[in-house]
Symmetry: C2
Subunit: 327 residues, 2 copies
Amino acid sequence: MNILITGAAGMLGRKLAQRLVRTGELGGRTIQRLTLVDVVTPEAPAGFAGETHARAADISDPSQAPRLIANRPDMVFHLAAIVSGEAEMDFDKGYRINLDGTRFLFKAIRAEAAKAPYRPRVVFTSSIAVFGAPFPEKIDDEFFTTPLTSYGTQKAIGELLLADYSRRGIFDGIGLRLPTICIRPGKPNKAASGFFSNILREPLAGQEAVLPVSEDVRHWHASPRAAVEFFMRAATMDLTQLGARRNLTLPGYSATVGEQIAALTRVAGAKAAALIRREPDAKIEAIVAGWPRNFDARRAVALGFRAESSFDEIIRAHIDDELGGRL
Amino acid sequence: MNILITGAAGMLGRKLAQRLVRTGELGGRTIQRLTLVDVVTPEAPAGFAGETHARAADISDPSQAPRLIANRPDMVFHLAAIVSGEAEMDFDKGYRINLDGTRFLFKAIRAEAAKAPYRPRVVFTSSIAVFGAPFPEKIDDEFFTTPLTSYGTQKAIGELLLADYSRRGIFDGIGLRLPTICIRPGKPNKAASGFFSNILREPLAGQEAVLPVSEDVRHWHASPRAAVEFFMRAATMDLTQLGARRNLTLPGYSATVGEQIAALTRVAGAKAAALIRREPDAKIEAIVAGWPRNFDARRAVALGFRAESSFDEIIRAHIDDELGGRL
């Protein structure tokens, strides 16, 4: 099994590569080669028995995708993307990476298949940003995609291309609309959604964190650990079950900020929760008001995708995976 | 008022140009210039007081869109497209014209606006092909787009781009999901949907027609006349009413083939209806089974879009507009 991961230097890309190396196989087939690509050279995970090719490549350069596909990966995890905030600030860059980059990759697979039979599986990371307000309190599997950001637009277009290429048998694709990943490890960042992670991760490390919205803001979350298992499920399940509808809203856990803080208090004590400083920010409140709050991800659940079922569990996953199991 | 029509040599493009010339104004502003573009040079409509520029241009050639936009049309009717059957047969051509061509046009508007303030209105023709089975008997305004053809995929992508460019204020866009246009004038063609028109148009002209499906097949129709009025409404209405959701399923009339034939009998007599020859074609039956049958186009109706409310009316529109009012 020969695997390509784009966006492999990102948080999820790194965790996915580590997970693949730890298991050593995918769907019963030994992983022989791992190609890791990102705009900066990704780190090769330690302890892999097979070959690792880690390289820097700009997927919006049309010459790159054919090179990545030339060694015929059986499995393509396409995680590379310009994130929401940056795609909104830089219109051209967002379309170049998120739309053109994705299309170049899909086209390269088609061109490779024209030389000799080839039909890899493609796991595409989409996002709940494909949905835009107004929407019902709980968004079901047949609700329409009306993104309110260029990022959401680019992801929705990627979904459509993925479905059409899959329908035509060019590759076997699945698109995963990830919930907001919480608790994101690392430093606080400026993403409008950053506070969902900051208010847990920082207090768990004994640091102050800023909460810019009210406690009744509700959102849709899954841990990095759950996200990696989504990828594993998508990589190994029978995709004929999807029919022509190749894009799935994944399960998550819907919680208010108040419920997040209550879980933090239960797991780490009132002292941790006291490190959260309220600094209401009208601009962030306004952005967050346009975000989905809850989903009925029935289809993905029926297909065996699983997320956490409490915020305590999400916090404990972070303590296990990032803090060595200790506070 | 300076107007650009792409796809101006097509049936709807021609009728729209004639309609604009007949009225001479749009939203109270005199039409001074009409630029008509298609892959073949469109015919200039007779009797226009202003300037007509009719030219052949391939919109999938990136150098063309900037030229079309250089004279800063106030209104762009973007009708140019490879039709469903051809886009399905020729993957590259469909994506080149329907996706790249649309994107080049949108990008050219953005580039022009970067030189000096410019924000035209863009009326984009989408299609009910953005929907793919399974769907409810009546598709509502919030049902998701899961196209089962490359054409439907390309139109759904055009809709997403239109909404994002409009949201960013680059242009003021509206996407119109046209019903199947019936009765299409001209010769019978090989489009899988051709029979919906053939079984009326040919008998009305005293000719035999072939019906390849059963009489209980239900579909969604509007006349060419209604389609032109959709464009006029889209060109003159206040688009702020749309908010961020720039794409509309238009009203139509839902009828079974049996109901079409009953209307033909009422309008033109049993002798006309007797010219329909039943030749069941399993392949066409299968294609048509995946097509939408009925819509609840509530939003467009509330915004003032109107279609016919009986098939008799659709047939009479054809007799008036194509047969000089006589059978």
